[in-house]
């Protein structure tokens, strides 16, 4: 029983299609990582699931047993599908706590529990609860964004390059948190340029190229695949190689 | 018969002057995306410049007595005056958000209005400037007005030719590029603020010239001779209706909307007193509605922007 089954996603911005038939499958509690070269449509595929990119007829996105292709983006949170954009993913003039409360906008009754859980997962944020999110460092903002997406305990959280521009210390922290989140039963779909460490923690990896699925396997399976390693992971470099 | 001819000539002359104004606004908004809601200010400055340079002062006139130049010497300076008014405010606000310019231009119109009304020594204050000569008046009726119409038409043709040349030149292409994608234009090494400023100043010069043509047509200029409804708002309707970005559209819009405006004015004039005033307000409502309906249902106007080359 899969949580998310996206089939034959075709679409893009304006006239030109970026996705030419992308398939994605995520099971409950799984960590799935999407990798691929620049312009492969990784982020676009995720935005399409989130309702931010128009999909052409024939595309299908089943989430938790319901067809959600082209449903309004603002309806996704209530369905249990949370999305964290890569950039501009906090409200800069709102305080950390207000940012988190925005995550519970769809169900205010759950806000109090959500805050407690968020501060338990990210203790650093509790100390900064009154600070404006715009004043935080990149890594702290990423934590705020992830914590906000977790406020209503979604079934699936989608992270678009959560480690982009972060120091190695924060990258490790984010990947640890991703494992933690998955262990609590929340599935994670993640686009990553930091392909090797991401695949190392992934249950499954999906390789996109030119708006199509190129390969799919378990995380370790993709890491061990010499062709994938050569094409998408930057040769056979052992690790910490941003493709 | 002669009355009908004179009416038609008056209508066309004013339509021509509006065409000059609309061409100026098209340079600013259509080609470059600059919002100018203070056309009145630039028109007034051009009108007073030419008026003061050419007027033969009536006895007891309060305004500054000018050198009594011929119109052809004064009109270019009216354009320069419009440009000079645009220069500082453009330099200040064009670096900033697009809507700041829109707000600043409202301010310009207000300042010009206050200045004209209060600086009696220069502008004659509320009494205005009379005795502005209308070119070719010596030809008598109806040839004088016809000759003036031809002069206005020639100026519009000249402005049109210059506007077309501008739009097709590398300068015009850069303006469109900046309007459509500022970042991309910056990336190829263009300084958007400087290009915008040039377009803004050129457009203001057209408006100044239109003001001069208006003053010489009325043979009088005073603080109440210009009205923001017709000098600013109607011009926007003309441009949007004709097709912003297209110089022929600007002229077509000016003539078509002015014809409608004048016709409704005539109809309103046939109504008894109280209804006539009400009809004027109804017209105001209809300009606002027309503006919005065009934006909603025909945003490209009667003639859309024709872009050189495919896009």
């Amino acid at each position: 029983m899969s949580l998310l089954v996206a089939r034959n996603m075709v679409g893009g911005y304006g006239e030109a299609d970026i996705l030419h038939g992308v398939n994605l499958t995520v099971a409950p509690g799984q960590v799935v990582v999407i990798i691929g070269p620049n312009g492969a449509g990784k982020s676009t595929a995720m935005k399409a699931v989130a309702g931010l990119v128009r999909l052409k007829p024939g595309s299908s996105v089943m989430f938790d047993g319901t067809e959600i292709a082209n449903a309004p983006a603002e309806s996704m949170v209530a369905r249990g599908l949370a999305y964290v954009p890569q950039e501009r993913n906090v409200f800069p003039s709102l305080s950390v706590e207000e940012n988190l409360l925005m995550g519970a906008y769809a169900r205010p009754s759950a806000a109090k529990d959500g805050l407690e859980r968020s501060y338990a997962v990210f203790p650093d944020l509790a100390a900064k609860r009154r600070a404006a999110a715009g004043s935080l460092s990149g890594g702290q903002r990423q934590m705020v964004a992830v914590a906000r997406a977790l406020m209503l305990t979604p079934k699936l959280i989608m992270l678009d390059e959560p480690t982009a521009g972060l120091s190695p210390k924060f990258c490790t922290l984010i990947f640890d948190k991703v494992r933690e989140i998955a262990a609590s039963g929340i599935a994670v779909l993640m686009v990553e340029q930091n392909a090797r460490p991401a695949l190392a923690i992934a249950d499954r990896g999906v390789v996109l190229a030119m708006g199509r699925n190129r390969a799919e396997d378990t995380g370790p399976g993709l890491l061990a695949n010499p062709e994938i390693g050569h094409l998408f992971l930057g040769g056979n470099a052992p690790e910490e190689d941003a493709a | 018969m002669e009355n009908a001819l004179l009416y038609a000539v008056t209508l066309l002359t004013l339509a021509g002057i509006y065409a000059a104004l609309t061409l100026g606004l098209n340079l600013q908004w259509g080609l470059t995306g600059l919002m100018n809601f203070g056309a009145l200010g630039f028109v007034a400055v051009g009108a007073y410049t030419s008026a003061l340079l050419t007027a033969t002062p009536a006895p007891g006139a309060a305004h500054l007595v000018g050198p009594g130049w011929p119109w052809w010497a004064a009109w270019p300076l009216a354009a320069v005056a419009g440009a000079l008014l645009a220069l500082p405010i453009g330099a200040i606000s064009l670096r900033l958000r697009a809507d700041y310019l829109a707000i600043a231009t409202i301010g310009i119109a207000e300042i010009v209005r206050l200045f004209v009304r209060n600086e009696d020594w220069l502008t004659g204050g509320p009494l205005g400037v009379s005795g502005i000569p209308r070119p070719f008046e010596g030809l008598g009726q109806p040839w004088g007005p016809v000759a003036y119409l031809l002069l206005v038409a020639a100026v519009v043709a000249l402005l049109y030719a210059m506007a077309e040349a501008t739009a097709k030149s590398p300068f015009g292409r850069t303006l469109r590029a900046i309007r459509d994608d500022e970042e991309a234009a910056k990336a190829v090494g263009r300084n958007p603020a400087s290009f915008r400023l040039q377009a803004f100043v050129l457009g203001a010069a057209c408006m100044g010239l239109a003001g001069a043509m208006l003053a010489h047509f009325f043979k009088f200029m005073g603080p109440d001779a210009l009205d923001p409804i017709t000098a600013t708002f109607l011009v926007w309707v003309m441009l949007i209706a004709g097709g912003s970005g297209n110089n022929r559209g600007a002229i077509l819009g000016a003539v078509a909307i002015w014809a409608i405006w004048a016709a409704t004015d005539w109809i309103a004039g046939q109504l008894p007193g109280e209804l006539a005033t009400r009809a004027a307000y109804l017209r105001l409502f209809l300009i606002g509605l027309a503006l919005n309906l065009i934006l909603l249902y025909r945003p490209q106007g009667l003639i859309g922007e024709r872009l050189p080359g495919a896009r």
Binding site: F91 | I89, L114
Partner: protein
């Protein structure tokens, strides 16, 4: 000195309070909807005339008529949004600005048609000014100042304490992110119009109480409201309110005979002060004086 307070400072504060209300509504709408609403002045005018209808029909004071003015102005803003702005939501802000300009003309025309061009007033009997230690203040001025303080407090509470206010600020920060966070964007926009229209209506009634009702009541202070909003950092209602207060006081003080009995600025040019302030802000501090929304 007491003359400075009575004839310049207090009227300046009163005018500033009215500017503050006008600018706060303008700035709020700008923050959430991302375009300069040129019809804001006409919303003020509409509110002023709506109160007049209530004052005349029910024989109440304009203060009591405030809720009626607000209730009559909100539907106008919502209708304009529904009919004209909403279909253009994806267009450039410039197009929306032009659209709001058309809406302004329409509202103004209706005001002219219904109430005519003659200035009118909320007929009121003479009330003696209150005097404390030589400081004289008109009762209506005191009411305007108090009313503005209450309105400012309510808006502040809405924005900082309520869930809906937080959503408005979130929309002002980043509309796309607000959408993926589950904020019902259409509802927040409607709420924003309600608050902006309410502030405009109150500002319009106060301005009409202080001066007189004309069809250009609001339009005549639109430039000042914009200047105040930009002074306070556009999109930040609280900054706009402070900007309005500053502008009002500066405008009144500009005619104070500081040097040798001659006014600093000819009173005829008082209307130009807003423009001068606007130009100075655009040159030296285009991001506004204050930081942060709230």
């Amino acid at each position: 000195m007491i003359e400075l307070v009575n004839f310049y400072l207090i009227p300046g504060l009163v005018l500033g309070a009215i500017y503050a209300l006008a600018a706060a509504g303008l700035s709020l709408a700008y923050g959430v909807l991302r375009f300069a609403n040129f019809a804001h002045g006409e919303l003020m005018t509409w509110g002023g005339y709506a109160a007049l209808v209530a004052v005349v029909a029910l024989g109440i004071s304009p203060w009591v008529a405030l809720p009626i003015a607000i209730a009559a102005t909100i539907p106008v803003a919502l209708a304009a949004d529904r009919a004209f702005y909403a279909p253009l939501r994806r267009a450039q802000p410039a197009v929306l600005l032009i659209s709001s300009f058309g809406v302004a003309l329409m509202i103004r025309a209706v005001v002219y048609l219904v109430w005519g061009p003659t200035p009118q007033g909320y007929a009121r009997g003479f009330t003696p000014p209150l005097v404390f230690e030589g400081i004289r203040i008109q009762q209506r001025h005191l009411m305007i100042l108090a009313g503005t303080a209450i309105a400012a407090l309510l808006v502040h509470l809405l924005l900082s304490r309520s869930r809906a206010g937080r959503a408005m600020r979130a929309m002002a920060d980043d509309p796309d992110l607000a959408r993926v966070t589950g904020v019902p964007v259409a509802g927040v926009i409607r709420l924003t119009w309600c608050v902006a229209a309410a502030l405009a209506a109150v500002a319009g009634v106060f301005l009409a109480v202080d001066t007189e009702l004309t069809p250009l009541l609001g339009f005549n202070v639109l430039l000042a409201a914009f200047a105040a909003a930009i002074l306070g950092g556009i999109g930040r209602p609280w900054g706009a309110a402070l900007g309005g207060l500053i502008l009002g006081v500066v405008e009144e003080l500009s005619t104070y005979p500081l040097i040798g009995g001659a006014p600093l600025l000819e009173p005829a040019y008082k209307g130009g002060v807003a423009f001068a302030v606007l130009v100075l802000v655009l040159i030296f501090r285009p991001q506004g004086l204050f930081k942060g929304m709230g």
